[in-house]
């Protein structure tokens, strides 16, 4: 009897934990909607939430939105692939070889302190305003988080494990594949998560400067015509894509680091 009532109160507590966090956002949405309906909030400042939903719906139905999303995603991913693989390669190189570190690392650390967005004027002069400019900026933005974390990941691999593996006859590529890379992986994945967040930030700025397609273009275009609802759709899209990228990298961590005690309980619970 007491057991069932305990489990019932437990269930109730679980529901409460789920519902309570959503109360505030819902309340804000309701107030916002009411404020727009009663004319306290001008449409030029913020459209009513319902209008945003409608704009989302019509843009999705016409297929226009998907085209922009596809363009932006392509830019983001190709920039990430280019900058990320370069960063990984260089990080592995400077992390593994002292000579490469002495040669390259101080230069790279110096460049790291330049915000990629500060290069926009130069980038426009170099590449004009076409795709390569955006590719360059995104690649640059994702480069440093991955580079630094790869470098430190390689350096912090347990020396005892490397010694053990060497004494078991592992050298060269097998040593790298079985010991050094997996040992550096947790740090590398932290870098990947950082740079995925950065990737969208850079892309948003790059797209609002100059573009003929993409989410940034869509929102800037809408601004010209005072379509605040479309602007908000664009912002929402960025938020959704950012969240998606984060989920993806979390998934990668769960899978690749399933040996790690820190991820094991989470993996078992899921």
């Amino acid at each position: 009897m007491s057991a069932t009532s305990a489990s019932r109160s437990e269930r109730r507590a679980r529901w409460r934990d789920r519902i309570v966090p959503t109360l505030l956002p819902v309340l804000i949405l309701v107030l916002w909607e009411l404020a727009s309906r009663f004319g306290w909030l001008s449409n030029r400042v913020l459209p009513e939430p319902w209008a945003v939903v409608k704009a989302f719906w019509t843009l999705a139905l016409s297929g226009e939105m998907w085209q922009h999303v596809a363009t932006s995603t392509w830019r983001a991913l190709s920039g990430f692939a280019l900058g990320g693989s370069l960063a990984l390669g260089l990080g592995l190189l400077t992390g593994s070889l002292r000579s490469a570190e002495t040669l390259l690392d101080s230069t790279l650390q110096m460049l790291r302190n330049i915000p990629p967005l500060a290069l926009i004027p130069l980038v426009i002069l170099w590449f004009g305003i076409d795709e390569s400019a955006k590719l360059f900026l995104v690649s640059l933005g994702v480069f440093f988080p991955i580079y630094i974390n790869t470098f430190h990941g390689i350096r912090s691999v347990d020396k005892g494990l490397i010694e053990m593996a060497r004494s078991y006859g592992l050298t060269g590529w097998p040593l790298y594949r079985h010991v050094i890379l997996p040992g550096a992986l947790p740090a590398i994945l932290v870098g990947v998560r950082f740079s995925l967040g950065f990737m969208w930030v850079i892309l948003i700025v790059a797209e609002t400067i100059s573009a003929q397609a993409g989410i940034g273009y869509m929102t800037m275009n809408a601004r010209e015509f005072l379509q605040t609802d479309v602007v908000l759709v664009g912002i929402l899209l960025y938020a959704l894509l950012g969240k998606l990228a984060d989920l993806l990298s979390k998934g990668l961590e769960r899978w690749w680091l399933r040996w790690h005690p820190g991820y094991q309980s989470a993996a078992n619970a899921a």
């Binding site: 005892g160 053990m164 593996a165 004494s167 006859g169 997996p182 040996w259 790690h260």
Partner: protein, 291 residues
């Protein structure tokens, strides 16, 4: 085309000469033909090692017969681990050489295996893959051999687990299986039981002894526990003031127990000897605690 072939030939010749040179290179000890898997004869000649200003070993000479179980004891920091690491080839001696069956040690790296104080399992590989580390596929079914080695240490049912979920003793048993799977002719043990609780330690000692009796490899155990040395070894060496200060044969029947006549006497005498000339009075503590 021509030059390429020529180069190949020269390389082959170079390889041949080096192979031939290995057994010929002055062999002061008789080289007995060894069947694979049996123990190796180890010789250390004039080993010296200093770290910076501090001398650790000076002109250490050592002979270990094939299949012998030798324990090295001494106070912490006396250089016993360094001696083991020199024989393992993990560190380079300032002077002196280590011979393996009368030949150079480097040619036999694949026949020497090491167990460390910490198990040093790769946390990102499951137990079975840890045991199979370094096995090449040409040597038959790798996983089958790893499974067999795991069974020998009594952990066949944990093959699919991550090392993180094993206890300390289980990790060391996996490390032992990982060493055994290579059928080493020399097994070096660097305080592998130092971090285990008393019961697990006794269990592991028995396991190591039984596997040694079965495979007849040469074993070299570094330990700070005199009792452990007396329980396992044919010979106990004491390292003191950079030298082998004592070389005592333990001729007790196996399996050994404290009830045996002579066991306690050996242990007591070794302990007295280890403790006697205290170079720095403050360092006695750790050894007394262990006893």
């Amino acid at each position: 085309m021509m030059s390429y072939e020529l180069e190949l030939e020269v390389a082959a010749l170079g390889g041949l000469t080096s192979v031939r040179a290995a057994p010929l290179a002055k062999a002061p000890m008789r080289v007995e033909p060894q069947r694979p898997g049996s123990g190796a004869a180890i010789q250390a000649e004039g080993l010296s090692k200093t770290y910076g200003e501090r001398g650790v070993l000076h002109d250490v000479n050592l002979q270990i017969a094939p299949g012998e179980f030798v324990a090295i004891v001494g106070r912490s920091g006396c250089g016993k681990s360094t001696l083991l690491r020199l024989i393992a080839g993990l560190e380079r001696a300032d002077e002196g050489t280590v011979r393996f069956d009368g030949g150079p040690r480097a040619a036999h790296a694949g026949e020497i295996r090491l167990m460390f104080q910490d198990a040093r399992l790769l946390p990102w590989k499951r137990v079975l893959d840890n045991v199979a580390l370094g096995l090449s596929p040409e040597q038959g079914d790798v996983r089958e051999r790893a499974r067999d080695a795991l069974a020998q240490v009594g952990l066949a049912d944990r093959a699919g687990d991550w090392p993180a979920v094993l206890s300390g003793g289980q990790r060391q048993r996996v490390a032992l299986a990982r060493a055994l799977v290579h059928a080493p002719r020399l097994l070096l043990l660097d305080e592998p039981l130092g971090a285990l609780d008393a019961l697990t330690r006794i269990e592991m000692q028995r396991l190591i002894e039984s596997l040694w009796q079965r495979h007849r490899f040469t074993a070299l155990l570094v330990t700070h526990d005199v009792g452990e040395a007396v329980a396992l070894a044919d010979r106990v060496l004491l390292i003191e003031s950079q030298q082998v200060a004592l070389d005592e044969r333990i001729d007790l029947a196996r399996p050994r127990s404290h009830a045996q006549g002579g066991y306690a006497r050996h242990e007591q005498r070794m302990l007295e000897r280890v403790l006697r000339p205290a170079p720095a009075p403050l360092t006695i503590v750790s050894n007394q605690e262990k006893a």
